[in-house]
Amino acid sequence: MNSTGLFPILIGGLLVNNFVLSQFLGICPFLGVSKKLNSAVGMSLAVIFVMMMATAVTWPIYTFILVPAGLGYLQTVAFILIIASLVQLVEIVLKRYVKPLYNALGIYLPLITTNCAVLGVTILNIDKGYGYLQSLVNTLGAGGGFLLAMVMFAGVRERLETADIPEGLKGLPSTLVAASLVSITFVGFQGLFGL
């Protein structure tokens, strides 16, 4: 059982080990949905929600079903199964109760299923040996870090729209260069709280 305090874990997920900018997980929605601020926020909130639910369900299943049965190696398969079902559930709920968000997210909602950020956070919780509460806090930090990265990058991209970019760098190349520059700034958080 990892003895790190809850607050360092939260800051770790948010800044030090930011899922998108430091660990390079979840790049697809990061590049795909960050063009407009409101869809970026909507997407991040959906990801946070899926991450929290995924952690809440996968941690107990791993600890109380898989490990006692000696089936720890089935972690990846079982987690994918759980995450896929959860995302499907989120899609059904959104379609019924929040239709505008469902329409706005469109194709990106099923993409959250294969989003490595979601699988990543559930597996990392296990690898770091966090307890249940610690896992949830870590996931909250990871999701918050995802939201932070998306919102910041949406701001950068909206500025880039009006910038005078050379012909060869227009579009995706300039976006990737901007993303790497933002990522470099987050290196400054390395070593905080001994993480």
Partner: protein, 273 residues
């Protein structure tokens, strides 16, 4: 051995539990699907060409179900689709507002002057990149047939360096319109009686140097038209299809022969029909 069986059992159990949860959720939280939308959508061709003005066939089906759109906007679907969709909606079919593609240029090789000799990839898109292509006229048809290649109905042929659209074969899907790099293919209502075969906004003297059948903006056509159906703006004449009756007076008066009234032979006929 026991471990393997245990693994299978546990994963199957997990799958079953989540499957049941999802089945329950999809039943309880089902969104009422409008059957009309389904029926309308299956009646449409499914080409997603956007000729109706909505975002694909899905968008048009939903707009019709909401009562926003009239049946009969689907030009590729034609009469049949108009009637089927009208009957699903329970309204009278008003027929299809047919639109056919027309190339607004009459400059075949014998009428035009060229400004350069192009030796490159033989497509309109490539030729257009190179200083706008061979013809001196910057609005003229390049004649490499990107439109003919895009047409799935064989309605477009290129003769003497000019694309010609067969009105009978054209279904109005607008694929050629988006492919033309000069944007000189225009959708004209099926009931139109004639068209000015030129897209050049250059002044008369410039047009004369580039092409012998281009519109020079002299406005003789406007003066002779009794129906106020033809007007010149920016040195280019344009026929209003709603007012034109096809009398041919404008075509007779035109000094270059750029006005083409379908099926009418003007006194100084020059441009391709």
């Amino acid at each position: 051995m026991f471990e393997v069986i245990l693994a299978i059992i546990i994963l199957t159990a997990l799958g079953l539990v989540f499957g049941l949860i999802l089945a329950f959720a999809s039943a309880v939280m089902a969104v009422p699907v409008d059957e009309k939308v389904e029926a309308l959508r299956s009646a449409l061709p499914g080409a997603n060409c956007g000729a109706c003005g909505y975002s694909g066939c899905d968008g048009y089906a939903e707009a019709m179900a909401r009562g926003e759109a009239q049946p009969g906007l689907c030009t590729p679907g034609g009469q049949d689709v108009a009637e089927i969709t009208a009957s699903i909606l329970g309204v009278e079919s008003a027929g299809v507002q047919e639109k056919k593609a027309q190339v607004k240029c009459g400059g075949c090789d014998q009428y035009i002057n060229t400004k350069l000799e192009y030796r490159g990839i033989a497509t309109c898109a490539a030729a257009n990149q190179f200083y706008g292509g061979e013809p001196s006229c910057s609005y003229g048809c390049l004649g490499y047939g990107d439109c003919a290649a895009a047409c799935e109905y064989g309605a477009i042929t290129v003769e003497n360096g000019l694309a010609i659209i067969n009105k009978d074969l054209c279904v109005g899907c607008t694929k050629c319109v988006s492919v033309c790099p000069k944007s000189i293919i225009e959708m004209v209502p099926g009931s139109a009686k004639g068209i000015v075969r030129c897209s050049s906004h250059d002044k008369g003297a410039v047009v004369r140097k580039a092409c012998s059948v281009g519109c020079i903006g002299c406005m003789k056509c406007t003066k002779v038209c009794e129906y106020d159906a033809i007007h010149v703006s920016n040195f280019l004449a344009k026929i209003d299809p709603e007012k034109c009756v096809g009398c041919g007076a404008c075509a007779d008066s035109c000094p270059t022969g750029c006005i083409n009234i379908f099926g009418y032979q003007p006194k100084n006929q020059k441009a391709a029909v």
